[in-house]
């Protein structure tokens, strides 16, 4: 931006319109409630109009507007803006007026945008130091979703194409001088397809049948067979569980088990096998309770939001109102936001937790709006009925009970009116008696020692009277605490002694007042015990318990009051109390309470007797005022109530799923919100200690960058928590949401080819990759969205393409152009995942149990201690439970299964969109020596020995079963020799370690 000579400068708006313009401008400025927000309002304008020529690299006129510092520094004509003084700011001068100097090319700013910049500068030009602007060209993933035309191929190539996918792929290839590889042979194809769609290898018979099948649609029939196999849902559910970071324990320390996580896992398997339309799949997982109330799937699917870690100690033990608790809840919601946004829209919203997103247009406000969606939920065991009819009947019965209770209340009201003053009088006296009883047992209970696990732990408490007194008697008053239904005599020692002394340490001048340490003493109940002391001189009085009172699973020492009489007066008023240890839990328990004059009075017993008599009178009074008709009605109602109760009890008991909930059984400091949202504020720097109170409470919302989608939801009813989640679900599945549909088809592509069209399936932002075939991605996304949103149809479309059916062999000519095969001139060879390997070994050995669903199998020894212990060395490999598919593995967060971890299984602490793939010595050791692998080699060998007692026949069979092909002569000879010399088991172990077993061509 070059400064123009003064005479050419455009008149400013104020000059052009005179005083009227100035007034108009002032009012515009002052009526604006708050200054424009940089991130959501100013940055887009600057990026759209200015940054193309004034950025970090390209600096026309020496000016960059990339950062606050750049703008302040300015260019050849001086600073671009002067904070607080829009009139003096060059920036405004350049864009303002009827024929503005800038932008030199393209669209001009509209007056509203000019005013926005002006108001922003006037208000101080707030521009976060960390925010760097770049030229605004809409990032690929945020562009509106429009289905491109399928490219037309030259006729020669068109013949090779089997689907629109191939047209896109080949179109790009031919421009680069690449071409497709020939189709793979049938054995390779069925092996690839079966592993890819079901996670399991084909049997040798299946391979042979396909190889021999003359039907031109033989391949398509295999695809249909596999997609309708229940194994399809099991295998693809595992992919989904990676993404949502499903686990069966909480994680952190005290890694408690989550016995009710699995219904969510089973829901995913079921939904995929039933080919749930994707929109419904999303709605169920975010707000199934809202959209599909009382349905089984609608509740079980909510396990999605609860799938990640849960800080048990932080949630259950740390007190409300502490910073620690706020931190715990912030992280908890952050995980829900992150899981939702990466899973469904491949956006890294959580990058905006501490500051506006540095690379994508996601503001901190957007982020905390997303947190507000989850402001009223916690992860907890949620009750539901598997059968919605049960729910219906339960609601009916409960409604009937309410009706009956109302009838009973009406009858009672009539009776009371009739009973009149007499009844009132009796009730008043009952209330008075109750109060008296309560008074007789004061709120201040007494002294309570620390708890002991051993009953013979010695505890003491003593008084320092301040000065030495001649003491006559000592009185001990026992406690009364209903804890564990103990009541009177609570904490009174079973054996004890009383001593008096002038030495605080009780080392010398000790007089034993009473020694009850030889035999157990009967519990005195509420009876004060008195001990004569005959005027001995003492300043200190100590009671030592040598055998404590039983409490719950532990022992304690408690007494309500200790009195010391000298010259007829209780002299404890000046005393202080010391104890070996003391639980200080005011007001009930405190060492000070020992001399506060408050103790359960003997009077209480008499009061209780009086109360019982009054209650009899009360009954009589009511009875005499009841008509016969009313009595009969009461009897009938009460029996009907009982019948309802009885039927309720016979209904199938509710099931539990670990999901998000607003109602659940609380524990410790972890209590349900009952749907009341917790206040969510923008946290400055993401710090719980510095909420931005000026910004107000955050309302639920989503990403504001998609203005047409409505980022801020319709006002949600605070009484309907699920509306918050439902609104987010609606935003995600909106047809016009450009991210959602691209995200899911890209994920599916990723699993089929080993790399997504966008190679970062969890990040479609600027830090992610750009797609290799953007038109194909858009074509697929629209096709999927508009053609029933069937994942199975999407799989079918992909795996029947010529692209997918190519061989995986190397071609030097193509590799020279595209070594990493981004343009898919061949199929990618894939390594088995941990689960595929596990399941294949079991299947080949003949041990795979195909039972579906239910609680996960535990491949570890378990000890539920203070912190649970998981030991993978102590397990019985032959136990039937362990023969199930790995998707049913009970997943421990803190202690990973070492075998599965060595094979790169997903870490349930993080949302895993792509698994890492390693080939380490430790993996080789696990493949060779893991007890599971060794045992399966033995089982495999014994299966082969049943087939034949000839070694070469056994080896041939092993090749067919493990690799789906015949052994070559050379292979048969080599392995037969090994089997003959060292046993068939070693040959079987070797088979499982073959690269051919581990890789799929």
């Amino acid at each position: 931006m070059q400064r123009l000579p003064l005479r050419y400068r455009q008149p400013s708006m104020a000059m052009a319109y005179g005083a009227w313009g100035l007034v108009w401008w002032l009012s515009a400025t002052f009526t604006q409630a708050s200054p424009p927000d940089f991130q959501s309002e100013i940055a887009p304008v600057l990026e759209r109009y200015c940054l193309a020529c004034h950025n970090e690299n390209l600096q026309h006129g020496g000016l960059s507007l990339a950062t606050a510092a750049d703008a302040a520094r300015g260019g050849e004509s001086g600073p671009a803006l002067i904070a607080g003084d829009s009139a003096a700011s060059l920036l405004v001068e350049m864009i303002d007026g009827s024929d503005p100097a800038m932008p030199k090319e393209g669209e001009r700013l509209n007056p509203a945008e000019v005013e926005l910049l002006r108001a922003w500068i006037q208000a101080g030009a707030a521009w976060p130091e960390t925010r760097t602007l770049t030229a605004r060209e809409i990032w690929w993933s945020r562009k509106p979703l429009i289905q491109p035309a399928v490219p037309e191929l030259p006729s020669g190539l068109a013949l090779q194409a089997r689907s629109p996918i191939d047209s896109f792929i080949m179109d790009q290839q031919q421009r680069l001088g690449l071409s497709m590889s020939p189709e793979a042979d049938r054995r390779t194809l069925i092996r690839r397809l079966t592993y890819d769609l079901t996670g399991l290898p084909p049997s040798y018979e299946e391979v042979q049948r396909f190889v021999m099948d003359p039907d031109p649609l033989a391949y398509e029939r295999v695809v249909d067979r596999l997609l309708s196999s229940p194994a399809y849902g099991e295998h693809w559910a595992r992919h989904w569980l990676d993404v949502v970071h499903y686990g069966d324990t909480h994680g952190f320390d005290k890694d408690k088990v989550r016995p009710n996580a699995w219904p969510y896992r089973d829901y995913v398997v079921r939904a995929l096998n039933e080919d749930r339309p994707y929109e419904k799949f999303v709605r169920e997982q975010l707000a199934g309770d809202h959209f599909f109330a009382n349905s089984r799937d609608g509740i079980e699917a909510l396990g999605f939001l609860a799938a990640g870690p849960f800080d048990y100690v932080g949630q259950i033990e740390v007190s409300d109102g502490t910073m620690e608790k706020q931190r715990v809840r912030n992280i908890d919601r952050d995980d829900m936001v992150n899981t939702t946004m990466t899973t469904f829209v491949s956006a890294t919203a959580n990058c905006a937790r501490c500051h506006d997103h540095k690379f994508d247009p996601i503001s901190q406000r957007d982020y905390y709006g997303l947190q507000a969606v989850f402001a009223a939920v916690d992860r907890a065991d949620r009750q539901y009925d598997r059968d919605p009819r049960t729910t219906g009947r339960r609601i009916e019965l409960q409604a009937r009970q309410a009706e009956i209770r109302k009838e009973l209340d009406e009858i009672e009201a009539r009776i009371r009116t009739r009973a009149g003053a007499e009844l009132e009088q009796i009730e008043q006296s009952i209330a008075a008696l109750r109060e008296a009883i309560e008074r007789a047992r004061p709120l201040e209970y007494g002294f309570h020692s620390a708890l002991a696990t051993d009953q013979n732990t010695v505890k003491w408490v003593q008084l320092d009277l301040g000065t030495t007194h001649p003491i006559e008697r000592i009185v001990i008053c026992p406690c009364d605490d209903d804890f564990n239904q103990i009541g009177a005599g609570f904490g009174f020692p079973v054996r004890f002694k009383i001593e008096a002394s002038t030495d605080p340490e009780f080392l010398q001048h000790v007089s034993v007042v009473s020694d009850q340490t030889a035999l157990d003493v009967p519990n005195p109940g509420n009876l004060p015990l008195e001990f004569p002391t005959f005027g001995l001189d003492a300043r200190y009085v100590r009671i030592t318990a040598e055998k404590l009172a039983p409490r719950l699973n532990d022992f304690n020492f408690a007494i309500a009051e200790l009195m010391v009489f000298s010259r007829g007066v209780n002299v404890v008023t000046e005393a202080s109390v010391q104890a070996l240890d003391s639980i200080e839990a005011a007001p009930r328990w405190s060492a000070r309470n020992l001399i506060d004059g408050k103790y359960p009075a003997l009077a209480e017993a008499g009061l209780r007797e009086e109360l019982a008599q009054s209650q009899v009178q009360h009954q009589q009074c009511l009875a005499s005022s009841t008509t016969e008709e009313e009595r009969i009605a009461q009897v009938r109602s009460v029996s009907e109530l009982a019948a309802c109760e009885g039927e309720l009890a016979t209904l199938p008991s509710p099931a539990m799923v670990f999901a998000v909930a607003t109602e659940f059984k609380g524990e410790g400091q972890f209590q349900p919100t009952h749907g009341r949202p917790r206040p969510i504020h923008v946290l400055k720097r993401g710090n719980e200690a510095t909420p931005d109170l000026d910004a107000g409470l955050m309302e639920p919302g989503a990403l504001s960058v998609f203005t047409s989608l409505g980022s801020h939801f319709e006002p949600v009813d605070d009484n309907s928590e699920s509306q918050r989640r439902a609104a987010l679900a609606n935003w995600i599945v909106d047809r016009e949401n450009p991210l959602t549909w691209r995200s899911i088809v890209n994920r599916v592509w990723h699993y089929h080819f080993g790399r997504g069209i966008c190679a970062t399936p969890d990040d479609f932002g600027r830090m992610g990759e750009v797609p290799t075939h953007p038109e194909l991605l858009d074509w697929l996304a629209v096709w999927f969205r508009d053609q029933g949103q069937s994942l199975k149809q999407l799989h079918r479309l992909i795996v029947t393409s010529a692209t997918y059916r190519q061989g995986s062999f190397h071609r030097a000519d193509a590799a020279d152009i595209d070594e990493s095969n981004r343009h898919l001139w061949r199929m990618n060879r894939s390594r088995l995942t941990a689960e595929q390997l596990h399941d294949a070994v079991l299947l080949v050995a003949g041990r795979l149990d195909r039972k579906m669903g239910g609680p996960g199998y535990r491949a570890f020894g378990f000890l539920d201690d203070h912190s649970p212990h998981f030991d993978y060395r102590t397990l019985d490999i032959d136990s039937a439970d362990l023969q199930r598919r790995a998707v049913y593995r009970f997943i421990v967060r803190s202690v990973p299964d070492p075998f599965m971890a060595a094979l790169d299984c997903a870490d349930p602490s993080i949302n895993v969109a792509r698994r890492n793939e390693t080939l380490t010595p430790l993996q080789a050791l696990s493949m060779l020596n893991n007890p599971f692998m060794m045992r399966m080699a033995e089982v495999f060998a014994s299966e082969l020995q049943i087939l034949s007692d000839k070694v070469d026949v056994q080896i041939e069979a092993a090749y067919q079963m493990a690799l789906g092909r015949r052994a070559t002569d050379e292979e048969r000879q080599e392995l037969s020799r090994l089997a003959a010399e060292h046993g068939l088991v070693n040959a079987c172990r070797l088979m499982f370690n073959l690269s051919e077993f581990m890789f799929i061509d």
Binding site: E317, R755, D763, H866, A902, N916, P921, S926, H982
Partner: protein
Amino acid sequence: MDRFSAVHRSIEGDNLSRMSRRDLLWHTGGGLGGIALSSLLNSDPLHADSSTLSGTGLHHSAKARRVIQLFMSGAASQCDLWDYKPRLAADHGQPWDPGEKVELFQSAPGHVMAAPWPWQAYGQSGKWLNECVAPLGEVIDRIAFVHNMVSKSNVHGPATFMQATGFVLPGFPSIGSWISYGLGRSTDELPTFVVLPDPRGYAPNGPRNWGAAFLPAEHQGTAIDPHARIPINDLFPPAAASFVSPESEQQTLEVLERLNRRHADQRAGDSRLEARIQSYELAARMQLSAPQVLDLSDEPQHILDLYGVECGDVPSDAPMNEGQETRYFGRNCLIARKLLERGVRFVQIWSGADNGFPRRNWDSHEDLKRDHWPLARGMSRGVAALIQDLAQRGLLDATLVLWTTEFGRMPCSQGSQGRDHNPFGFTNWLAGGGIQGGVTYGLSDEWSWRPAEPDRATYCYDIHATILHLLGIDHTRLTYRAGGIDRRLTDVHGRVLTELLA
């Protein structure tokens, strides 16, 4: 192409068979500093020549090549070990009133409580140590203390994650994993990052404390149990596998290699297949090497005595006692030295297991005297021996020793003999390569409660930045892209503590 570049290139790979250098960058996110890339292509930049930068791939010259992290689980008490505060002795038994409300984990603040044992000044630096860590007096002038450490959590799990990974939640790589990723492998006979857990069990969070999270699994810590027949998971066939003999093993592996090589030869252009064959060769080497490291029979008696590995042979179910702690911890320290000698880059030794009864860690809520004495005596004897032994072998100059714990303990009592958690102030110390011995940086207040200058507290980020710095790494440039962020060990924080550097 040498063997290692082949292995590294392929194991870093995604599911695609062959990658160009640019693809490698692409795969690892493009945000990778030059350093990790060079380590992928050269197996061991540090051993090549740590004094010069050319060809090392380091950001600057390194002072240290390897690290030992000593992790006291349960929160070791700074004010009973080395943060000497006369005020605690003077006010012992008085109500504690620091002048403001204190948020504690379990209890209300009790009375001021002095350390149960006496203090004494050691070495030329005159640093005061408590009797329970007196053995460290021998090496006190090699140690640099940081007394103003602060944690972001008051709960064991998150706080342990923070010291181990830099974050208070799961899902982030441990410091050992970052260093493995940054510097690459330094030996093909042992894992790069080895963990020696407390023999009584795992600390809170379990093996996630040494997990690789989003980094490739090869960078995760490998736990060694020196007492087990199979000290590393699946290192040898299980005892039940009677069909395996040395002869069968040799022939099986020979045939396997032949068949796998034939398979690879038919599939040109896929370096993973060759890498997989090599991984079996490396596995065989690890089988030979690991037992040698754990075998202490070659160690002379004076070394065994120095570490105290023959102390206190008592039943393992006995309550914690000094003899047993010395024996366990000393053995792990000695094994750590042997691991470092054989090229392991990062060794993590744990003292203390999870919470449970009886107490088996430093979390002394009920009885500090009972727990801290045996743990501190055992730990300090082993660590002092390790530092002396490394020094006499000339290894200490290039070995960094970090002593840490998840947070500290309060200067006031809990009950009458315990101390509650103190995330507001605790101690770390460093010794060895590039560290200036005998200094104390970052003081705590008069109570050993909080940093003397609360605005200048030290966080694990600063400790981690300092360690990476001494290894030749700029902590802001060691990155890995995960979930849209170029992740760092030090998040967006970290200052190299130049005050501690030699």
